[in-house]
């Protein structure tokens, strides 16, 4: 049972463009929706997160949009830079702060 579906699997964006990654989840018993960023050879790092009582959260060039009724949330990276090239994971949080992750999106920002 896949609780979190993430798309696309890979994404190529030109420098300065907008990167958009989407996630959909399957039940409503989640109370925290984070995005993690992972560079090759490193562990994932928390990028930005949102609670279900908020529809949008922005931190610098990164924005989460959350649609509770559709059970979807997305990550937008504005003015994408080559340094943003990484793998991005969405996740849903339930009891004991456990996370269920999407399968990841490999983002390449071309110079």
């Amino acid at each position: 049972q896949q609780q979190v579906k993430q798309s696309p699997q890979s994404l190529i964006v030109q420098k300065g463009g907008i990167s958009i990654i989407n996630c959909a989840y399957e039940n409503t018993a989640f109370d925290y929706f984070p995005w993690y960023q992972q560079f090759p050879g490193k562990g994932p790092a928390l990028l930005i997160a949102i609670r279900p009582d908020v529809s949008e959260k922005k931190e610098g060039r990164f924005t989460i949009s959350f649609n509770k009724s559709a059970k979807q949330f997305s990550l937008h990276i504005m003015d994408s830079q080559p340094g943003d090239s990484a793998t991005y994971f969405c996740a849903v949080c339930s009891g004991y702060s456990t996370l269920t992750f999407g399968k990841g999106t490999m983002l390449l920002v071309s110079p």
Binding site: L46, S97, L99
Partner: protein, 114 residues
């Protein structure tokens, strides 16, 4: 890496041998987790701990056991390693604040079972 170390960082072992991976934290966080990461599967939770001697199973716990005798250490044991357990293993910690799922990950251990 938020005061988290994993050891060893790389290990090659043979099928059928026992393997123990160690996660050590200096943050005094209550919750600790073990994940495996495989291409096409993302990160999957193996086991987690919500306190000393308190552990529970995650999504892919078969073939793995854990122990936590001190706040700072969380051990993952493969009782009899199989080739399907070749993976990158990540430990993570969380302060365990209600409704907040922040987790901080270690650098990972690359395990190869031949």
């Amino acid at each position: 890496d938020a005061g988290i170390t994993q050891s060893p960082r790389h290990k090659v072992t043979e099928t059928g041998t026992p393997v123990t991976l160690r996660c050590h934290q200096t943050e005094n966080h209550r919750y600790m987790y073990w994940y495996r990461q495989d291409p096409g599967h993302g990160l999957r939770l193996i086991h987690y701990s919500y306190g000393v001697k308190d552990t529970d199973k995650g999504e892919v716990s078969d073939g793995y056991s854990v122990s936590r005798s001190k706040t700072e250490d969380f051990l993952l044991t493969l009782e009899s390693a199989t080739s399907s357990q070749t993976s990158v293993y990540f430990c993570a910690i969380s302060p365990g604040l209600a409704g907040v799922g922040e987790q901080y990950f270690g650098p990972g251990t690359r395990l190869t079972v031949t």
